[in-house]
Symmetry: C2
Subunit: 433 residues, 2 copies
């Protein structure tokens, strides 16, 4: 059974604090193994990548066959059923349209001294997208990572996807083709991250690496950070639903299960103003688990980490939500906009009972790569900005230097940085001649 809490209970604060600090995932310590793999790839390049692939993915690989050819991609994509292709196309078009609105503007202006100031955004030259093999191979993740990169203007978009026993995943390859991936390699694990970060004879290095992966991939991303940019290291998925009693308990139950089925460490929480409704949802979860295909995953997640919290009113709900800072937040209440205005920390908000979170996983438009583990307090979901960087611009005129240069000289002197001051003073001296 999940936990049942109520803000009316005497021990609520203690139990809620315990819920917040609950450790849901014990990541295995693979850091030494990953360090060794990265060192091997840096030393032996393609040969190391091929050896590791043969060992972990059980098929023969040479530098010549590392890249999945256009013909292979086309053949695999051709196997996808037309309805699946159409669904991917709907998703891709909506994700593209949403992310195109994120393109930042360059700015330039002249200030009162005559100085020209501003900034300019530009894409990274090359991005690398990691796509896990096996169970968690999601074509939707390919779209969510690759499309923002292409919208940002990234010219070279590399994808690495392990193919255990050499088997290709048609939907993943079709999604890659659809979203403008320019090179695909059949490699995975820490060796793929190392190859993209440092380069090999076959794979030119990239500047930024994004995408989910297992403990080895996560540890490798942490290690190559600085050499290249990385996106966040995602933890297990979470959903918080705030619902009043005017909802179908079964809908809310399925919404909670749609996170729970991801991972035994996933967390689904319901906050409701009506304790009886909360119980009805919990009962509906139990009923749905009877027949759910992934009940062996969703069941333990709900049992170990699920919670139903009864609150006095929606204002109280918003305060608890802000302490949780959930990855996904559903507002299944009569006036979701009013409640949304009180939310300060959440990765993504789904407003109203016609907006199940799963819409956002596929076709809503916003990105489904979102901050987990309370990191929505300080970070955002994946966006076009993750594949761009900003260069600041400044141009002084003699007049503007005359106006503000003396303050710079004064501050440089106070910081004992003489050459800093001299570089301004030498120019001021010329003006004052």
């Amino acid at each position: 059974m999940p936990q049942f809490l109520s803000t009316a209970d005497a021990d609520f604060d203690t139990r809620f604090a315990a819920l917040l600090s609950m450790k849901r995932e014990e990541a295995p310590d693979v850091d030494d193994a990953v360090a060794a793999i990265i060192a091997e790839v840096r030393a032996r390049g393609d040969d190391a990548v091929c050896d590791l692939t043969i060992r972990f993915d059980r098929f023969a690989l040479t530098p010549e066959t590392m890249r999945i050819t256009d013909a292979e991609i086309a053949a695999a994509a051709g196997q996808v059923a037309p309805l699946d292709r159409a669904a991917l196309e709907t998703a891709a078009a909506r994700i593209r349209a949403y992310h195109e609105r994120q393109l930042p503007r360059d700015e330039q202006w002249t200030d009162e001294t005559g100085a020209t100031l501003g900034w300019r955004w530009g894409p990274v030259d090359a991005a690398g997208l990691y796509v896990p093999g096996g169970l968690a191979t999601y074509p939707s993740s390919v779209l969510m990572n690759a499309i923002p990169a292409r919208v940002a203007g990234v010219g070279r978009l590399v994808m690495c996807v392990p193919t255990p026993d050499g088997v290709l995943n048609p939907m993943v390859l079709l999604a890659a083709q659809m979203s403008g991936v320019t090179e695909i390699y059949r490699i995975g694990g820490a060796q793929a991250i190392a190859a993209m970060a440092y380069g090999t004879d076959t794979i030119a290095p990239v500047d930024k690496i994004t995408g989910p992966g297992n403990a080895f991939v996560a540890a490798a991303k942490r290690r190559v950070f600085g050499r290249v940019g990385i996106d966040m290291i995602a933890g297990p998925s979470e959903i918080l639903v705030i619902a009043d009693s005017d909802n179908d308990p079964d809908w809310i139950a399925i919404d909670l299960l749609s996170q729970a089925e991801h991972d035994e460490s996933a967390q689904s929480i319901l906050i409701t103003t009506d304790a009886a409704f909360g119980q009805a949802v919990a009962d509906a979860v139990t009923a749905r688990l009877e027949s759910l295909e992934r009940a062996n995953i969703a069941g333990p997640s709900w049992r170990d980490f699920g919670a139903v919290i009864t609150v006095g009113d929606l204002d109280e709900a918003s305060k608890l939500s802000n302490r949780i800072a959930p990855e996904h937040l559903e507002l299944a209440v009569a006036d979701p906009e009013a409640l949304s205005d009180k939310i300060t920390h959440a990765g993504a908000i789904f407003l109203g009972q016609w907006t199940p979170e799963a819409i956002g996983d596929y076709v809503g438009g916003p990105n489904h790569v979102l901050p987990t583990a309370r990191s929505a307090r300080f970070s955002s979901g994946l966006s076009v900005l993750d594949f761009m960087k900003r260069t600041t611009l400044a141009r002084m005129t003699p007049e503007s230097l005359r106006a503000i240069g003396p303050a710079a000289v004064r501050l440089a002197t106070s910081e004992s940085l003489q050459a800093h001051g001299l570089s301004v003073q030498a120019r001021l001296d010329r003006l004052n001649r």
Copy 2:
């Protein structure tokens, strides 16, 4: 002597590649020591922080005296000379005006299906600013870190600054007061980072930590990343100057020295279209070093890491610059805008010979916290966005769910995520009744 290279030389590619991959800093491995300090602060809170401060900073500290009082700040600020105060005020006003333009816009729109989509930006609740003690205590860094946070709307802005032997730095405290810091603690090192990340009885935890520091501080920031957000881990400073022969060699020499004087590991590079001008600049550097206060730092930096590169034309210069991806880039050429348009990777660009880089360190307006070690390929300088995060918003109507829901169900099925599909299908079934 610095290195002299020319793109006309047969061995240029090899030597330029060596310059790019030059290792300039061997960070001491303090990770175990830092892990122990963090564990101690988590276990013993204020007491651990006080013990470590007594040990490292040589003065008695209790939880009661940890915070620098308003009276102490006012007294210290009162010691600052009026001209220094005025210079800080000029800098603060210009930095504030520049960063106010970075405030991002919220967006919301209705798409062709009737769905409402958008996003919303908000500040982090609390930010922590680390300010190093000792030699590298720069009031300008306080402004550059604190002002963007305040412009972002951060309500609680904590500053930690070590005070070796208990001595306060008046300019640093005045800068903090001027830029809206709300709490200042006289603690430093890994213990300060741990206290801000995890909180103690005296210091409530923050959500984001920024600011420079020594190897201990950098290692601590890496370790608390995830618990809180952090800014980049900065490496030694760099400048690249691209100059034609129509410049005063002495100006360019001082500009190169203004980075070299920061750190023996700093790197200053000149790219010029005129080999004789390059030699003249190198001679001017030598002459300036005769009398420079920090010649003991700037000299080794220029000798070990400095370089003068002669190119055939400015187009070649822009290509080399993009491979270097410099932190600071000065364009001391006749048409700096035209050259700037060819620059794809740089932290900050200073256009024209009246814009010495030092202007950007203090009073230009743009931030002086910038990506080092070639990371301008994929990252940006500090900005208002670093203290904000984005929440995505989506609201479906029954009609929009009818339009795009079936694609979501199809994709959920293809990914074997049954509950995802059911959460959409249950709502579609209601519509189709």
